[in-house]
């Protein structure tokens, strides 16, 4: 049924349609509306029986999820940013134990400086945690991927993170098609755990594993993600067959057939990039887009297949490995081993900095002309950066960086963004 609603509410409805049995909630912007929505559905009795537990921290949220998932309950939670870092130990634990928990990450920057706006630093920090990471381009896709995520998680007995851009998607009202309960029930079978705490068949879960088997356990986690490379597109096809619309999958190509330049990106910026690419195509630029929808497992073969005939690749990412450069870029480069092409990394949108079509057109034009620096920061304000560097060179006690920059900027409230 078509509805105009907020992304968070749409995700809450999608999760509810998946009949979760335990939901753990700890508030952090911009994830709050999702768990609020689910809390209301449980409280009203629409989602009975389901336990909605207000926990005392994200660490507890994931820990409760670990307990309930190991007891055979379909389990969901959501977080973002500092919350994901605060639960990090339990994030690794959940995947190490092979528990099919589904978690929404409403992507948000990590402080300091504290910043509540969108980028991908949070989920990227957990890229090696063993969780699968699926990125949504729109609210419709976020909704659809959640339904697929439960199926994928439970088939593989591995946890899945659904990443959706904080505020840009979570707080955006747009048209979504909410499936019926029958449709979801037909697609997603009841949870049949591989391992479960059961008094009839007592098992010990979570034993210490020494050097004699640890490598093998880790390899098996990798093997499962490798299997996911096959299952993710299959599940996306099954989903399309059941629901009549495409969502998910490993990657999505946009106008890449004859493209000399291909932009690689993930998440909601893909929409603005499509507009940009259409505009540049009209000017005769052979440019296309590759949207990575599954970041873990990373689809090396699909990325290679999509990019290998291009002359240059521009990875536009909302994440940044300080001291190195792009996070996604590193993986894309691995996919292109042995292929000679021009590679550029554009770091954009950190901490909610707007990514505008105008800026994208400018930076991509520079790339097409091979005049771009290998690592570029979109719309970086060099003025305030250089002033701070000068300040630090001039005196030892130059003071706190963030506060200095804000003082240089003056009142920002008077601008629109």
């Amino acid at each position: 049924m078509l509805k105009q609603m907020e992304g968070s509410v749409a995700v809450a409805e999608a999760v509810a349609l998946c009949r979760p049995e335990v939901i753990c909630a700890y508030p952090i912007s911009p994830q709050t509306h999702i768990v609020e929505g689910l809390g209301a559905l449980v409280k009203s009795g629409a989602l009975e029986p389901c336990a909605f537990i207000n926990v005392e921290s994200e660490f507890a949220a994931m820990s409760v999820a670990i307990g309930s998932s190991a007891t055979g309950a379909r389990t969901y939670t959501a977080t973002a940013s500092q919350g994901l870092l605060f639960m990090a130990e339990a994030v690794y634990n959940a995947s190490g134990l092979g528990l099919p928990i589904v978690m929404t990450v409403a992507n948000r920057a990590i402080g300091a400086p504290i910043n509540i706006w969108n980028d991908h630093s949070d989920s990227m920090s957990q890229r090696d945690s063993g969780w699968l990471q699926l990125f949504a381009e729109s609210n419709q896709e976020a909704l659809d991927i959640h339904i697929q995520a439960f199926k994928l998680a439970e088939e593989l007995s591995m946890p899945v993170m659904v990443c959706m851009d904080g505020f840009i998607l979570t707080h955006a009202y747009e048209r979504v098609d909410i499936p019926t309960q029958e449709q979801v029930d037909g697609f997603l079978p009841p949870y049949e755990p591989r391992q479960v705490l059961d008094t009839a068949e007592p098992v010990s879960i979570g034993a210490m594993v020494g050097p004699e088997a640890f490598m093998e356990v880790r390899y098996l986690a990798h093997a499962k993600q490798t299997m996911a490379l096959e299952r993710i597109p299959e599940i996306a096809r099954e989903f399309e067959a059941s629901f009549g619309r495409a969502a998910g999958g490993l990657v999505r190509r946009y106008r890449t057939e004859d493209a000399e330049t291909i932009v690689v990106a993930l998440g909601s910026v893909v929409g603005t990039l499509e507009e940009t690419i259409d505009a540049m195509r009209e000017q005769g630029v052979k440019i296309g887009l590759l949207s990575i929808r599954s970041f873990r497992p990373f689809p090396l073969a699909a990325v290679r297949a999509a990019l290998q005939h291009a002359e240059r690749v521009v990875v536009l990412e909302k994440s940044f490995s300080v001291g190195l450069g792009g996070v996604v870029s590193t993986d894309v480069r691995l996919a292109l081993s042995g292929i000679q092409l021009h590679g550029y990394t554009v770091v954009a949108g950190l901490g909610g900095r707007s990514i505008t079509q105008a800026s994208l057109e400018r930076v991509l034009a520079e790339a097409v002309a091979d005049k771009l620096e290998p690592l570029t920061f979109l719309d970086l304000d060099w003025g305030i950066v250089n002033r701070q560097l000068a300040r630090e060179a001039a005196m030892r006690r130059s003071g706190p960086i963030a506060e200095n920059l804000l003082r240089d900027l003056g009142t920002v409230q008077a601008k629109v963004h």
Binding site: S29, E174, T356, Q413, V416, H417
Partner: protein, 204 residues
Amino acid sequence: MLQIRIHGRGGQGVVTAAELLSIAAFEQGRHAQAFPSFGSERTGAPVVAFCRIDDRPIRRREPILAPDVLIVQDPTLLHQVDVFQGLQPEGYVLINSRRSFDELGLGEIADRFRHERLITVPASEIALEHLGRPLPNAVLLGGFAALSGLITIDAVAHAIDDKFKGEVAAKNIAAAREAFEVVTERLRGPSAQTPTATEESRPC
């Protein structure tokens, strides 16, 4: 594509106004996208929200830098925030105020745009009368429907009904309809109020 930017203060339902607009557009079978420019703003702080309306799916997700429509829910923002930033020459402006553009000190700015597309509405007063609270958001949408004809007042009423419940919805709808009438009347009237006031006090 129609791009609308709404300025107001935390607590005035700025974000809700953008959401209502998107629902109204959806009611009319159009694609719409509403989103806030979020900060960790508290009650009273300047807030901006955006709405895009189009006949095809909306892919762009940047903030609205060059709006076709500007709605200002709180006139005290006019000299604090550059609300007119990027406004298209053909753009519409709707300001919540009992005063005219000139009385608000906007005469020079108003000259840059089409006068018949600029209007002020005493939305807080209308809201106070209907709701008992000076909440101008839904009221201004009624005014916007009249000013632009880009959405219908019925779609606005539908949207309010979708988002609110019972009495609150009914009162907001009544207030929005009154604003619709007020603006329609003023646009129809021989001395279309706002532009005239502006002309009278034009410095040249």
